[in-house]
Every structure is written in C-alpha cells, then in structure tokens.
Symmetry: C2
Subunit: 317 residues, 2 copies
C-alpha cells in the first residue's frame, strides 16, 4: 500500500492504517520517514501530548492504563506509545507493558503501541516524533508517551510532550535522587504512585520541599499521590494535567514549546542528514582511518573532525 | 596560566595542574577545548578506563571508594570522575558523592572530581572524554568514570570505558528491568551490591539466567556479589576487572574499542561544529522562522532541514 493510500485510510479512521503507518515510520528507510513526516505534519498539532516517565518499578504502565481509562470515560480517544529500549535478547521491545494494557485492546477509541529505541542515539526512538504525528493525525485527542528510564529519557520526553508527568514510588528513588538525575526541572506534574506503601508521604513532602527551593515559576508543579492499580488519585491527576494545559495555553507557553520542539526536530533531521554524509564518505573509510590515527595518539580528535568535514564540504560544494 | 604551562606541570605530576586542566575542559570555550584535546591526545592512551554505572541508590559511590582503596593497596594511582546531572537547584553537581570519597582526599595517588552534565545532549558531559584524557595524561594507572542513571548513561559510559561495571542492589531493579533498560549488552561485569540484604541472591541468579539466554560470547559476563561498605567481594571484583582487561588485550578487542571510541568522538566533534554553524545562521533566525512554519503545519520538518542545510552549505561553499 502506498503512503497516500495509508493517509487516506488514516483520515477515514481506519485503525489498521495507524498500525501500518507507525510501522512505516519505525521500520522505514530515510526516504520513507521523510515522506511520512512531510505528509503527516499538516494534519497534526491537534492532540494533547502527555509524557509519562520515571524509574523502572514505579508502576508507569499501570498509571498509563488508569489515565487511558479516565480519558475514555470522558469520551476522548487516546493513543499510547510505550517507548522501551530494545534488547537483542528479545529482538525488540518487551511485551510486558502491552500485556498490562490488554484490557483496552478491544476498545476502538484506544491505540496502544510499543516502540523500540533502536537506532536513534538520543535514547528515545528516532521515529517517536513521527509516531506521535501519526496518532495526532489519526484524530487521537490525547497521545500518551511512556518512557522507561531515569535521566536523559525524561529530558527527551519533555521535549516531545506538552505536559510531562514524572512518576516515583516509595523505595524507587527519593527527592535528592530526583534532583541528582536532573528531573526536577522537566516535570510539570509529579506523581507518587503506590501511595498505599510506607514512605509515600515522605517522598511527596521531600519533593515539595525540593520544589520550593527552586526559583518561583508561573506554574507551581503539583505533587500528587496515586494508587494507580485501584484508580485512587487518578481523577485528581487528570485535573492537574488539564490545569497545566490551560496554563500552557493562556501563557503562550504551549506555542513556545511547540515551536521549540519543531526547532529541535529540524536540527535533528539536519544533523542526521549530515551524519549520514559523514558516514558515507569513502564508505566510512575516511572515518576509520582517522579513528585509527586518533586512537594511536598520532592525530588530535579535532584535527580529525576538521579533515572529515572538509571531505563533506568538498562532496557537497 | 597558559595551556603549555599547564601541560608541563601535568607531566611533572602537579595535582593542581590536573584540577586546572579539568576546569579548562569543563568550562572552556570551544577553542580551549580543542586546544586541550589536541595537546593531550598524544600523551593519553595508557590508563585503564573503568566505567561504573547503575540506578541511584545501589551504592555506586561506596563501590567506587572501595575500588579506589583496592587499587591504591596495589600501588596504582587512580583518577575518579563522578559525572552527575546538573541541577539548577544546586548550581552544579551535588557534592554527596565527593563527601563520601573524602577519606581518599589527602592521598596523593588519588584524584577525585565531580563533573556536571550540563551542555552536552548525550547525557554524559561533553567534556568527560577530555577529562579522562587529562587524568590519563597525568599518569593515572586507572581512571574510574562513575555515572548516575539507567539506560542511556550506561550506553555512553560503555563508549568511554575499556571495562563497564553495572551495579545493582536488591530493591533497585531486577533482571527484567535491566533487560528493559537495554543494559545487559553494555555490562562487562555485573555487581550486585548491598549483597547482605534480602534478595541479593535472587537478583544475581536472575541476571545469570538472563545472560544465559543471550548468544554465547567470547567473554562470559560475571555476576559478582559485594558489600562495598565493608569491602566484601571487592577483591573478586578487582580480579574480574583484570580478567576482562586481559581478555580485551588478547582478543584485540581493546584496540577495536579504542578505535571505535575515537571514531565516535571524531563524529561528535564534527557534528558539534556543524550544529554550531546551524545555530549561527542569521543568529538563529533562520531556524526560528523555519520552526514557526513547521509548528504551524505549513512546512514539513524535512523540507525545513533541507533549507537550513542549504544555508550552511552556501555559507561554507
């Protein structure tokens, strides 16, 4: 099936077209990714994109499931992208999260997809922004992007999302570790999940204290307690997300974030294209030869980079 | 003090020159970083670089301290780089880890330095490879690079190190989560720290099982138990690191890793230089205008990247 066919079916609300288009952007070559991004962009920009991240074990997938249920109860359609690091041991993303989301699998208003992070250097799959575009263009009211990890993943999911939720749980990192991992500044909403366990209140209190230490900001980051497994606190979480969205819209921050996101994507695409050119020079021989000299201490890395770039410029000039 | 002066003092074994040179590569502008990298590279390449990573809370700093003590007891000099994500709440890396290393602070054979990860997109500080070079050129026998985080940080520290240790502890992630985070494939040695706690044996057994599921490799990744706080298992860990190093040397893998590391650094330097050029075009106005059009759905991200690159090529052609 050609891309224009798929796009037509997508607009007609065909769920299989969503699946095929995401595979297209996930497995496609550079030209296919380009074709899809260019075609999808005009149709996207309507969905509310929510990022959900936190350490392994805090119950992100259960929380995602609870949010899906809450949005479905409001009559909204939801797309979920679970971005898992790939592992050669499984040949792709593990399926655990998908299995836990199974109860939504037969709901036409929910689309759930796991993605591997293979390929892209930055941790989040290179294809993720395009997959968000697919779900957005397909008419999803909410797109939830769930990532595993502490640190860089948060920063990246924040780059993709309008609102970034950072989930913790008692026993899985405290406030100081959140600060150390550089997460405080990317969270729009903190969720302390598994709040029926000992220590949840302490985690929440410490987070609030840590947030108070920072400079005052127009948006006061809330710290909410949930027990996602039985839905406790999820309504309040949905309200906090809505309040943040309203803040973004009224402050002009939504437009600013989206322009910033577009700028980063343009840069990434441009750099990827340059990276490919660097790699293609003499079938990579130029880089191999330079690397050998640098490793042997015969050439500095900057001089080597200059030589590599001179090659790219000659080739394109 | 000029760079040549600092380099001369470095070669003479002056600890203050180490501190100044690391500040130079951490705070320096592009030209200073270039100058330092070029000057240090010929003098580096002798140290054994060990990466140590794992989730917050597993006791990485205590483990690092125990390794320092073990190497010092063998008469080796050790440099430690603790790479912490920066936080605007602290104005830099938190000092906790440094404090815990205090007992080595007066030892002339140990150099300890915390680094922030500010600036560099990839999670590890952009300056980290240069800081490793400083310690290497200063004559450290062992350079230990300690990073916080799960996921991307492991992959990056593996790129820097000859041998990568991944630390876990009971209650801080199990084997499945290690697989999900994509860590299995970067670990040369697994360390289950806090092994006096319940569940340590289970973590170790599951890791071993998970490792057996993978394809057979020339190096069998060991899973060791330690109680770093009281030094238990540290001698065995030092032995395992030495065994891995011997394997690297005899298999030719050491040279391969170092060439690969050099190739990645050359690429990073070249891309950073291109990224700067992209940003400088019309003082960033070109990118801003393009981003606005992409965010508004009027232009695709790939077309925007093409326009940006055309500007770079015109400027350099």
């Amino acid at each position: 099936m050609t891309l224009p066919d798929l796009l037509e079916r997508l607009r007609a609300g065909d769920q299989r077209a969503v699946a095929r288009l995401i595979s297209w952007v996930e497995d496609g070559d550079r030209d296919q990714l380009r074709e899809a991004a260019e075609a999808l962009n005009p149709a996207a920009g309507r969905a509310q994109v929510i990022g959900l991240t936190g350490s392994p074990g805090v119950g992100k997938s259960t929380l995602a499931g609870a949010l899906v249920a809450a949005y479905r109860a409001k009559g909204l359609t939801v797309g979920v992208l679970a971005v898992d690091p790939s592992s050669p041991f499984t040949g792709g993303a593990l399926l655990g999260d998908r299995v836990r989301m199974q109860r939504h699998a037969l709901d036409e208003g929910v689309y759930i997809r796991s993605m591997a992070t293979r390929g892209h250097l930055g941790g989040l799959a290179w294809a993720t922004p395009q997959a968000v575009r697919v779900l957005d263009a397909a008419g999803c009211d909410v797109v939830l992007v769930e990532t595993v990890g502490v640190g860089q993943a948060e920063v990246e999911v924040a780059g993709l999302a309008d609102t970034t939720l950072v989930a913790l749980a008692p026993g899985f990192g405290d406030a100081v570790q959140v600060a150390k991992a550089g997460i405080l500044e990317v969270a729009d909403v903190f969720v302390v999940n598994k709040a029926d366990r000992d220590g949840a209140e302490v985690v929440a209190r410490d987070l609030r204290q840590m947030l108070h230490l920072g400079a005052a900001t127009p948006w006061q980051v809330p710290v909410l307690l949930t027990v996602a497994e039985r839905g406790d606190g999820v309504a309040q979480l949905v309200e906090a997300i809505a309040a943040h969205r309203a803040h973004l819209a009224s402050s002009g921050e939504l437009e600013r974030r989206r322009r910033h996101r577009a700028a980063r994507e343009i840069e990434e695409v441009a750099l990827a294209s340059l990276r490919t050119e660097l790699g293609e020079l003499g079938h990579g021989e130029a880089l191999d030869t330079l690397a050998e000299q640098v490793a042997a201490g015969k050439l500095g890395p900057y001089s080597a980079a200059d030589q590599l770039l001179a090659g790219v410029r000659d080739a394109s000039g």
